[in-house]
């Protein structure tokens, strides 16, 4: 059993199937990555450097954006990834324009 699982070839993160220790090396199947942080089981590790503002990709789709520069081998979680969805606490909200077109009141499926 591999220590990490990569779901899609487009992904820039992998899921740790076991706790990962700094100083060890994991193999994604494509790249070898030196682990930088202690990463709990089930959490994500960066396979490549992800610059601030770039998409974090899992399942082949964006799961959010890097809020700071993330180095390869780093723990990827809420401290360095920002979600773009449902953030009423932020002054300016970016929602996919395709999703924005409808008025809430005509969305009643009932």
């Amino acid at each position: 059993m591999n220590a990490v699982l990569v779901i899609s070839a487009h992904d820039n993160v992998a899921t740790a199937l076991e706790p990962l220790e700094p100083g060890t090396t994991v193999h994604s199947g494509v790249v070898a990555v030196a682990v930088r942080d202690a990463i709990p089981r089930g959490h994500k590790i960066a396979l490549y450097r992800i610059p601030a503002g770039a998409a974090v990709i899992k399942y082949g789709s964006a799961i959010g954006k890097a809020s700071v520069d993330i180095e390869a081998g780093a723990h990827v979680h809420t401290h360095n990834v920002a979600s773009g969805r449902g953030r009423g606490d932020l002054a300016t909200q970016t929602v996919d324009p395709a999703v924005r077109t409808a008025e809430p009141q005509d969305a009643e499926a009932r």
């Binding site: 059993m1 699982l5 779901i7 899921t15 740790a16 199937l17 709990p40 089981r41 089930g42 959490h43 994500k44 974090v56 899992k58 399942y59 789709s61 964006a62 799961i63 959010g64 990827v76 979680h77 809420t78 990834v81 920002a82 979600s83 773009g84 969805r85 449902g86 953030r87 009423g88 606490d89 932020l90 909200q93 929602v95 996919d96 395709a98 999703v99 924005r100 077109t101 409808a102 809430p104 005509d106 969305a107 009643e108 499926a109 009932r110």
Partner: protein
Amino acid sequence: MTRRTFPGYRRPDGAVGVRNHLLVVPTVICSAVVAERIAASVAPVGAALPHLAGCGQLGPDMAVTHDTLAAYCRHPNVGAVIVVALGCEQVVAQRLADEARRHDKPAAIVAIQSEGGTVRATERGVALAREMAETLVHAERQDCDASSLVVSVKCGGSDYTSGLASNPAVGRVADRVVDLGGSVVLGEIAEIMGAEHLLADRASNPGAAAQLLRVVSRVEAEAMALGLDIRGTQPSPGNIRGGLTTIEEKSLGATHKAGERTRLEEVVGYAAPIRRKGLTVMDTPGLDVESVTGMVGGGAQVVLFTTGLGTPTGNPIAPVIKITGNARTAASMADNIDVDVSGVLSESETLDAAADRLFDTVVAVCSGRETAAERLGHRECAIYRRNPTI
């Protein structure tokens, strides 16, 4: 694997049940205790539907409560109905009894105020229940076509294993159910947020794709209107501990449950009838029990419920099958788990083999095998409400 029939209960209206319950439905929270006592007198055939609504509600919320209770009265897993009223509430007992009778199910009403209190109403209800249950327990199952199945797919207490093992296994079963001519329903609009493009791309018609995007947009706008960070609940604190970082990540893992090949046919309102073969999305909130209550109300006879962290909830009338991809949860909450697919991650079982095993369990449960939630008496019910109680 290609089994097309199972022993079920064929109803006069053409629907097929996988259980034959006597539903004891309180019109309002005030009659819930009496309803529970009546149902308990004929357990396990008796199934109460305790809920917190039925009065103090205006407009859309009142309509949702009424429609949801009526949906349970006509549900194929229900063979007969006792409506327990108080007498002064908004929900109309007669409408619920009429709905059952329209679907050729015997129905009776017990009203606490006119019976003269808790003791007399309970006594009358118990006498009625014993009489009605007698017929139900002697009903025989007949060969029914798998195309009559409406399967609800649901996840709760998700962690990293949900998107990697249990949801994909359920998705493969969903594909098979649809291949056999059946229906699959996916709820929890907030947990489609971030993955809606994948489902919309699979819509069989442009109307369904547009409906889906509108509903997701509405729920996102509602969440944002609160001026709060949705991460307080989506993902939940437990999800985050389990390794899920954003709602997009949770949604992408969650939508695997709906299959890989199924086409989105329609988006329906809460507890509204699921009429289309293939995939239906229902407008339900992300709270597990409200979501399951709605999808069963829509006609789902069985629920496939994946969990990473472990959760015990069931439903009053539909068997809820618990599936986990987390080996530690499978061991630590063994009494709550029906199917362990953690071998997919430890590479001791392929995803296809796990899905085969799960499909066999679905057929067995639809044929009468008890689920863990049924065995433990988990019959949670909660009706979605959006507005304040007046």
